[in-house]
Amino acid sequence: MRVTVKLFARLRDMAGTGELIREVAAPATVHTVWKSLTAEMPSLVKYEGAMSMAVNAEYARMAAAVHDGDEVAFLPPVSGG
């Protein structure tokens, strides 16, 4: 199945893109998508303990299920205001 991955701020800079498409095997979780991403971009791993995740623009945990067509976002620590 296919998911759209969104990356922001420094994660986006490190990956060189803010949006990419990943093929992952079902059943998948946010963690599955992250593993598939970091397999290609190991420099992103250091964010694992400090980032937030979202599925279809709702905050989600690593264990959350991901379905075909979903948008999965990885968010570095925020700094708005």
Binding site: F8, A9, A57, L75, V78, G80, G81
Partner: protein
């Protein structure tokens, strides 16, 4: 005008205040907060900032903060607009307006809202300073973190 907004346009505190105060016949207080781009940050001379947002989630997070404030202080109404894109020194990055029957809740809700923005809204500052640039990173956003929520409440009521 929406009470929660993410916009590349200059913020309008007066318009948001009018929106909040409109029909506020029972209210005796309105408090406002405006956040500005500073020319210095951690010893660096700042040239300008670029704010980036995950817009659909950021908008939901602003709405969540408005709901939290009205649950915490019944009757309080909060408006929250955050600007994104390139901002020059002295420009407003965020405006918050809170109205209530009495001043204590208006001030508290306003302070609570800015603390929660810094905790859970997916917006990032990219600082361009003399000699380089850096992404600022604060809190790992977790809206269900009750300790963070309580910390914001304590600051608001200090």
């Amino acid at each position: 005008m929406a009470l929660a907004a993410i916009t590349p346009d200059p913020l309008d505190l007066q318009a948001l205040t009018r929106e909040i105060v409109d029909g506020a016949a029972g209210d005796g207080a309105v408090a406002a907060f405006t956040g500005l781009v500073r020319d210095r940050s951690q010893g660096r001379k700042v040239r300008f900032l670029e704010y980036e947002a995950y817009e659909p989630l950021a908008l939901r997070a602003l709405g969540r903060i408005i709901d939290e404030a009205s649950e915490t202080w019944p009757g309080v109404r909060v408006g929250l607009h955050h600007r994104i894109g390139r901002l020059e020194i002295g420009e407003a990055s965020i405006v918050i307006v809170a109205a209530s029957v009495h001043r204590a809740h208006a001030f508290a809700a306003c302070r609570y809202a800015i603390e929660r923005v810094k905790q859970i809204v997916p917006i990032w500052k990219h600082e361009y300073f003399e000699g380089g640039e850096v992404w600022l990173e604060g809190a790992a956003a977790d809206p269900d973190d009750e300790k963070a929520k309580l910390a914001a409440y304590r600051i608001a009521c200090a």
